[in-house]
């Protein structure tokens, strides 16, 4: 079993191959539509964005005394962030993206150019994944529970499948070429 320590360095992510199953130990931040828009339009951004492991997730959080606790935290559909992610990767050197459903060719290219991988989490496996997270803080709280940037420390967060690597390969593209044959057969 492969464990990646986050924040990860470029060499670590470039060594990952399609189809490998990995777990993450270390820091994870969440971000979806609004967080991406805010990060790209702000002058001052939280330092955790640099070299981040960015989890496309809008968790359900509860107050547990003074601390926040994630009770459900599965991946959200990554494609919604397609138009913003390449710039995020270039600007903040995001090393790892965790999500579901995969991302566009533009993002795949930015991942190759800058050294970043896309790890697919199991969509809807929100309780299992939340159990691997401890909340360490929140940024941009005014964006609301789903859209804010949550900061976590992860322990054996996964399983995650290397679905888009740092060399321009994508499991979704491989699957897509087979799937397209079915669409063509019936058109």
């Amino acid at each position: 079993m492969i464990t990646i320590h986050s924040p990860a360095d470029e060499r670590t992510v470039r060594n990952l191959e399609l189809g490998q199953v990995v777990h993450i130990d270390g820091t994870i931040i969440t971000g979806r539509d609004e967080m991406h828009m805010r990060a790209l339009s702000s002058k001052n951004v939280p330092k955790e964005l640099n070299f981040a492991t960015l989890f496309h997730c809008g968790p359900i959080m509860i107050r547990d005394g003074k601390e926040w606790k994630a009770i459900a935290a599965g991946p959200t559909t990554s494609a919604r962030m397609d138009t913003m992610e390449a710039e995020m990767i270039e600007r903040f050197k995001i090393r790892i993206i965790i999500g579901k459903g995969g991302m566009s060719d533009d993002v795949l290219k930015a991942m190759k150019d800058n050294g970043c991988v896309y790890l697919a989490a199991i969509g809807g496996a929100a309780v299992s994944l939340a159990e691997c997270l401890r909340c360490t803080g929140i940024e941009w709280e005014e964006l609301g529970m789903a859209e804010a940037m949550w900061k976590f420390t992860a322990k054996q967060f996964g399983p995650l499948v290397v679905a888009m690597d740092a060399h321009g390969n994508s499991l979704y593209k491989n699957v897509g070429s087979k799937v397209n044959r079915t669409i063509k057969d019936h058109s």
Partner: protein, 287 residues
């Protein structure tokens, strides 16, 4: 079992808790069946992770998915206008008590009231009947699957082949985004609004529902086979289990029309029903 009378508002909170924390048994069976024919290793582990999560959610009483969706309600039987207020109060309470993620926002300003309410929310469909009980079903609808919804107004000349083509391309082009293996709800016929409504209503059927119309059943089975042979697989990562079920609902339409709508449900095909009896006692189920 002893039932104590409870308010409609309490029943709504309980209903939302049941729907979000416990997957209907028939969906669990469909997932197990999918795992039994799955030959792809990654796909098999995805299904394993899904079932593991379902058990944890039920045991811990937590929502199985962080996207608790927007609740779509179907009210039938005997009721009056006060039921809307009770449902709204129930949704507000469930949001903080279960809790549910506050998902509803203004479509343009994106302002979030924090209670899963707002103009037009929650969605409630009413069907009065002559029964002396009230039945309320909830379908918590996550955005990943809902965002893949499509409606097309085909030409009658496109025929069944056109219908098939549209359903296949809609499901497959959605890729991993709606969290496959999905349940596919299809509406055919009616007017445009009715067609989309039927596609969603089809998702209320249990996965072991048998369509009594032979033509529709054959089309459901054919689509099921084609879609699962496509190779898309769980989460779009490849495999033999792309859909858990295809449900088709039809209505008569204009002679110049052939509307088709597809509404998907993620593998977490959540639903629950409460029947509130005349004496105020309630019975819950996921039938």
């Amino acid at each position: 079992m002893i039932s104590i009378p409870e308010s409609v508002e309490d029943a709504i909170v309980n209903l939302l808790r049941l729907a979000n924390t416990k997957l209907p048994e028939d969906v669990g069976w469909a997932l197990e069946a999918a795992a039994s024919w799955e030959t792809n290793e990654i796909a098999y582990s995805q299904l394993g992770g899904i079932m593991d999560n379902v058990k944890k959610a039920e045991f811990m009483g937590r929502p199985m998915c962080q996207d608790t969706g927007v609740p779509v309600f179907y009210v039938s039987g005997k009721f009056d206008a006060s039921i809307e207020k009770s449902i709204r109060n129930g949704v507000r309470r469930a949001t903080s008590e279960i809790p549910l993620r506050p998902n509803t926002v203004h479509p343009l300003t994106r302002e979030n009231p924090g209670d899963n309410l707002g103009d037009g929310m929650p969605v409630i469909h009413y069907t009065p009947t002559d029964d002396d009980h009230t039945e309320i079903t909830v379908l918590p609808k996550g955005a990943g699957a809902e965002n893949m919804t499509k409606l097309v107004m085909l030409n009658p000349a496109d025929g069944t082949a056109g219908v098939k083509k549209f359903i296949i391309s809609t499901v497959l082009e959605a890729g991993g985004r709606p969290c496959p293996p999905t349940v596919v709800g299809v509406g055919i016929g009616g007017t445009s609004d009715m067609c989309v409504k039927m596609a969603k209503e089809a998702l209320l059927r249990p996965t072991d529902h048998v369509n009594t119309n032979d033509d529709e059943r054959k089309l459901e089975e054919e689509l099921f086979t084609i879609l699962n042979a496509s190779g898309l697989g769980p989460m779009g990562l490849g495999g033999d289990s792309t859909v858990l079920r295809v449900h088709i609902k039809t209505a008569y339409c204009h002679t110049a029309s052939l509307p088709v709508a597809v509404n998907l449900n993620c593998w977490a095909a959540r639903r629950a029903t409460v029947r509130i009896m005349k004496d105020g006692t309630s019975r819950y189920g996921q039938w």
